[in-house]
């Protein structure tokens, strides 16, 4: 119950699809989605595997609650070894694709090998087959999704696909489903592209069942009431989306600006949530058309935006003039503050292209920021950019380089390397604002100390979705801690990391955790899944998942030395705002973190820790 108990295994080399039973013992220990798929992945793959070789596998996975009426229960994840990082990758997406997979009767789809020619997988309930994708190869995510629905004459098919960037090896390509929802980070779309797998198209009509429907209704109703009454999930996110953070984070001096040279952006107000709802003088309309929800979500933080028709990015291009998935905070930050571009419609356009061609706006924007610094210091020349004046703040340059990266062409191919390889190539590795090859998201760890430890120790490279201590340090959830001090952050980061891994293994969206603790989640899982599920047990699952991922990364060749931050954050103090004069104090937090984790001073889980968790 809750799990369908079935895995679809797709061998792209031989073109075969086979059903096999889910390992229920593992499901009891790793729950689902992130945890369970990671368990399958590490059992089946050599940690040293080249992410882009046929030997790497890619798993699409749902959680036990995916497809149910629990609020936000539509999530799925893509688990593999990341093309951007070479570390374990798990990228989570919303939309409606996850439910379709579950309704078709599958907990997971494991892809192995590589197809000789471009293919897509079509799943209609129990029936799965690989089909020739030559007519879709070379087209965008949007055209592929539409094309597949048309070809099979079925508007109900849900599609997850890659765009040109994923086909052409851009290292931070995503898997995009439902036009604008993405398994975004670490280059999972690049892995998909390397397998010649263009899309996964699913139609599911079998129904999703839980252990005890009456108890489940009661538990999920209680959960929804908590979300509705909470100021963040009940009001802030529906009205403003995650973009509600732009002005807040700028004010606390933690908005990384121009490749982390500054911690406040003078244009923050111009790219904020408040600006998105303000009517433009020119046409009297606002950028934001409405909010939108993913499957089963009672929060509805998604943005639907429209660019002013005469804006230089869309003028004479009607295909971009309609309403589409708009900016959320991380994207607005990366495309805007990180590059110094303060024009909302340009950022909205860049975001459209990221969705259309399937690449991660965070890594992309941050890499453009690094390239702009290289350009301004004369390391990269106009000749190398193909004539683009890649200056901080240039909306035109951003728009152009976005389209080039989407197609993996010209200087866009260089940006597509990601900041680490790009900066190494031009002899300035120190300018890449990344950890384990993955670019930072939208919080400067000089102004929010816990995020420094979060980034340094994240198993998938720098990321805010592995332990969002911003909730505690800035928003006071579940309790307020001082963002400027390092004390106590080791325990805080561990607690967030473990709880997050549990949420990510359930089928729920992590945004529920603004209002829910695992105490709210446990009754929902308990009513849905076989076994008895308490908050303590879920937290232990989270810790088990964290250690499993860590073990994989160590075996892949990472060491404690990789739990580090760029020198800019450790040596160059913040120039303004509340954190003025501060650097990140990682050296104070890291040893304590290893200790609370039960790891050696070198960052290796002890045997005792591993056997306590049964890893």
């Amino acid at each position: 119950m809750a799990w369908t108990g079935k895995i679809l295994r797709v061998d792209l080399g031989t073109g075969t699809c086979a059903s096999e039973p889910l390992n229920m013992e593992w499901a009891q220990n790793y729950l689902g989605q992130r945890g369970l798929a990671t368990k399958y992945y590490v059992e089946e793959c050599d940690p040293k595997v080249d992410p882009l070789s046929p030997d790497n596998k890619m798993i699409m996975t749902t959680g036990p609650l995916t497809g149910t009426c629990a609020s936000t229960a539509g999530r799925y994840s893509v688990v593999t070894k990341g093309a951007l990082t070479g570390a374990i990758a798990c990228s989570n997406s919303g939309g409606f694709f996850g439910n379709e997979m579950k309704n078709a009767g599958w907990d997971m789809i494991i892809f192995e090998g590589k197809s000789a020619n471009p293919v897509y997988l079509l799943v209609e309930n129990d029936n799965a087959r690989l089909l020739d994708a030559s007519e879709f190869w070379g087209t965008s995510v949007w055209d592929t999704e539409e094309g597949i629905k048309k070809k099979h004459n079925d508007p109900h098919i849900r599609v997850a696909s890659i765009g040109l960037s994923g086909e052409r090896g851009v290292k931070f390509a995503c898997v995009v489903n439902d036009m604008d929802r993405a398994a975004g980070r670490s280059g999972v779309g690049t892995v998909m592209g390397s397998k010649n797998l263009k899309a996964v198209a699913i139609r599911g009509t079998q129904g999703v069942r839980v252990k005890d429907f009456a108890a489940f209704r009661a538990a999920t109703d209680a959960g929804k009431a908590v979300l509705a009454e909470n100021a963040v999930t009940g009001q802030g996110l529906p009205a403003y989306g995650t973009q509600v953070l732009m002005n807040v984070i700028n004010e606390v001096g933690a908005l990384p600006t121009r490749n982390h040279l500054d911690v406040q952006f003078e244009g923050a107000g111009d790219i904020s949530a408040e600006k998105m709802v303000e009517k433009r003088q020119s046409d009297g309309k606002a950028n934001l058309i409405t909010n939108a929800a993913c499957f089963a979500c009672t929060i509805g933080c998604g943005r639907v935006s429209q660019i002013e028709r005469t804006h230089f990015t869309v003028k004479d291009r009607p295909e971009y003039q309609g309403a589409k998935g708009g900016l959320e905070y991380e994207a607005a930050w990366a495309l805007g503050a990180a590059t110094g571009v303060g024009d909302l419609d340009t950022l909205t356009f860049a975001n459209f292209i990221c969705n259309e061609q399937g690449f991660d706006p965070i890594s992309f924007g941050a890499t453009v920021g690094a390239a702009m610094e290289l350009y301004e210091t004369g390391v990269i020349t106009k000749e190398q950019t193909g004539g683009i004046e890649l200056k901080f703040g240039s909306a035109e340059a951003l728009a152009e380089v976005t389209e080039l990266t989407g197609r993996g062409e010209g200087f866009g191919a260089e940006i597509g390397l990601g900041s680490k390889l790009l900066c190494e190539k031009y002899g300035h590795p120190e300018l890449s604002m990344s950890v384990k090859g993955q670019e930072f998201p939208a919080y400067d760890s000089r102004g929010i100390q816990g995020m420094g430890l979060t980034y340094a120790t994240s198993n998938r490279g720098a990321c805010h979705l592995r332990s969002y201590t911003v909730a505690s340090e800035i928003l006071g959830i579940p309790e307020k801690t001082d963002p400027l001090v390092a004390d106590g952050k080791a325990g805080l980061v561990k607690a967030f990391q473990d709880a997050t891994a549990a949420f990510d293994s359930s089928g729920l969206c992590i945004f529920t955790s603004f209002a829910w603790t695992l105490e709210d989640v446990a009754p929902q899982i308990d009513a849905a899944c076989d076994g008895e599920w308490s908050a303590e047990r879920l937290l232990e699952v989270g810790e088990r998942v964290w250690n499993l991922e860590r073990q994989f990364n160590l075996a892949a060749g990472f060491t404690g030395k990789d739990d580090n931050l760029p020198a800019r954050l450790l040596k160059d103090a913040a120039k303004a705002g509340p954190a003025k004069g501060l650097t990140n104090q990682l050296d104070k937090m890291l040893p304590e973190y290893y200790e609370v984790r039960g790891w050696t001073p070198d960052g290796v889980p002890t045997n005792e820790t591993l056997s306590r968790l049964g890893v």
């Binding site: 309704n103 599911g204 009509t205 429907f213 529906p238 409405t290 089963a296």
Partner: protein
Amino acid sequence: MQRSLSIEPEKCTGCLQCELACSLDNEGAFNPSKSRIRVFKFEDEGRFVPYTCTQCAEAWCLKACPVDAISLDPETGAKVVSDALCVGCKVCTIACPFGTINYNQDTGKVIKCDLCEGEPECATACPTDAITYIDANWTGLERMRAWAQRTDAGAGAAE
């Protein structure tokens, strides 16, 4: 007093909780593909529109059915399909101008909204009040109120 489903698309976020609730009540599983209410997304306009049977007073489906499998529930005003009588001929699906009665391959019967015997699950589940269950005679009341507020009639009284 009969009540009607009132649908206000501008409030809808497209979450499909209504479809989940409907399918659970009618099919015993979470299965939006079997929901009697469907939510349509108009991508380029950023609009979500829930749509279901309006329970016509003179129902085309009811009149078209050759075996009288569709009847009126006098309590709720719903037009209800009897699974025992329905032969799956689909004539009602042709007769309905709105497309809100549909054939279900798995059972060989048609399915349509029956107002859940007077407690529509979709309205209960909707988190945004885009679907409500209100006095059948006054489904326009809130819209009237909104327009009334925009007129200046009676403005003098406040002075």
